[in-house]
């Protein structure tokens, strides 16, 4: 039996009991609302975990990149949504290839993106499903509500595209007035709306306030992290991912240095670079690539050099992307070693 004591540090541990509970809880929540659940694989990038999400009831997966979709399609996932503007001839051609044997849905927020999708789909004689991305209050991508009907009509008129509805991220209740207006305008224009796709771990908890949604895609909930805890979306005991780290230096009474820096934890910050389970009053205040700087001044007990600690990272998705494999554990036993199959795929 291999145990966590056989691992080098830093290593990324996934508490399987917690992960399984997270999967079941979110699925039950969506089932109770009559909302289709779609697993966003960005958090784990591992087909075996997505399979567990589908077995629990997820209708399909969401990916951010065509390359991620290719990995998952090869592993037998056939309902794949890409909530992203896919642009460029090589990318749209690869997307069209995927659409030969899979149900492929993308989003678009401009005419040029829709034109490119139609051209690629026509070249391969396939149909690509396209949702219109509606702007939300994070002001990222997304068309303003006034442009939605025009884009939907363009998709409808394109021989190889199917208008698949509206997509928002995050689907917080603040976007509801715009969403209602967009749906009313589409109704008025006589355009049918297959589905309304929301997204976000926090937004999922407020989905009851968004009855227009037919589906929601969520990623982070599967592991949770310090950000979901700080925002009240999960308890510390729901955090399935821990970074097992070693204290490599104690240069002063109140400073410890961990062997886990930005190459392990990422540089994402939320009042610290992670939460140390064994030393909840410690604060990871700075990272270099291979060093985590810890302030121990608030700690009654302080770790020794060589001691192993467990860090709940700030943002679990970017941590997964830094590592070649992660370890599924139950207690101290390593039950599974997962290669992070879709790690580092940016195309």
């Amino acid at each position: 039996m291999t145990t966590v004591h056989d691992l080098e540090t830093p290593s990324i541990l996934i508490d399987l009991d917690r992960m399984e509970a997270n999967i079941a809880r979110m699925q039950a929540h969506c089932d109770a609302l009559g909302l289709k659940f779609r697993a966003h694989i960005k958090t784990h990038k591992i087909p075996a975990i997505a399979r567990q999400q589908l077995e629990a009831g997820a209708v399909g997966i969401a990916c951010q990149k065509v390359s991620e979709a290719e990995v998952f399609a090869a592993e037998g996932f056939h309902d794949i949504q890409l909530p992203y503007n896919i642009l460029g001839e090589r990318k749209t051609a690869r997307l069209a290839d995927l659409a030969i044997a899979n149900k492929v849905t993308v989003s678009a927020d401009s005419e040029i993106v829709i034109d490119g999708l139609q051209k690629a789909a026509a070249d391969k004689d396939v149909t690509i499903r396209v949702m219109v991305d509606l702007e939300t209050d994070i002001h990222r991508t997304g068309a303003a509500v006034e442009r939605v009907v025009r884009l939907a009509q363009q998709i409808d008129a394109a021989a190889n595209l199917h208008f698949a509805g509206l997509l928002v991220y995050p689907s917080n209740p603040t976007v509801r007035p715009d969403l209602q207006e967009a749906l009313a305008r589409l109704h008025e224009a006589g355009i049918g709306v297959d589905s309304v796709s929301g997204g976000g771990t926090g937004a999922a908890l407020h989905a009851a306030e968004m009855p227009e949604l037919t589906e929601i895609r969520v990623g982070t909930y599967v592991f949770n992290d310090w950000t979901t805890v700080k925002r009240g979306w999960a308890a510390l005991g729901d955090c399935a991912m821990h970074v097992m780290a070693t204290v490599v230096s104690r240069p002063t009474e109140n400073r410890a240095i961990l062997d886990s820096g930005s190459k392990t934890l990422s540089s994402e910050f939320d009042d610290g670079y992670g939460h140390i389970v064994e030393y909840p009053d410690a604060r990871i205040y700075k990272l270099n690539e291979e060093h985590g700087y810890v302030d121990l001044s608030a700690c009654a007990h302080k770790p020794d050099v060589g001691e192993i600690v467990h860090v709940v990272p700030v943002h679990t998705c970017v941590v997964t992307n830094l590592h070649n494999q992660i370890y599924g554990v139950r207690g101290d036993e390593i039950e599974v070693v997962w290669p992070v199959a879709a790690r580092g795929l940016v195309w």
Copy 2:
């Protein structure tokens, strides 16, 4: 002939003319000072580039992790320095294995680290060279000056360790008084000092003010980045790394979204998440994993959806670590595709 126009975005381009000029310039600078130059591979993680640095005159390499050292040793690099506290039985055993056929030098700042190194070196009947890490004003690892003699004596007394001198990071002139005091104390104690190793791209430029240094290990200079430019250590025209990105959305007059987010550029921030060469007045003000948010309000001309731009990243080393391969280019031609051999190695 393959050109950059055949690449998907995001892709990491290395301007070979600039990289070769950076290598030659730093080596000439160190040669002029009579200072040994050691190439820190953290920036590129690619043996072929380290080979160019050695051909230019570097005496050896520096790595941060045993796993990186293993990759480079297998590629024929035999003088390897690890400026890090290597702790834990499996890690020190691997380090001792490396010392069988290579000149291996590590640093240490505590008794427990030195004890672990001696035990592992004795088990394998090898000699490991150990430098004492002296604290500097970045307050990371490093022993206070009062502890240096004691640690050096411990190393000297260990049958399988060789005291190899002092190590500081960064070797800015501010550390000189402590360094001089440490050297005086060692001299007084009758302990010979083989070498004094400094480090840092910025510190290298001030090496003339640090005549105690015998060697300096530098990484970032090989590519440079927005941080080295902002600190005045390099010109924009010395930046060899560019992230080739596509504008995937222009939701408003003053906002563009790039297909390059924190999974491509990392989350490191220095008054922005990178500098867009074609739009120097644009500002990358926010990143999600796959989205770069750009403020165009200061730009006279603004990019269209689908346009390709080139970003000088904030911190080149962490960008390399996110990508599976990078492209060496001369003009538009791709001269070489380098797998990032030591990417993601955290052990």
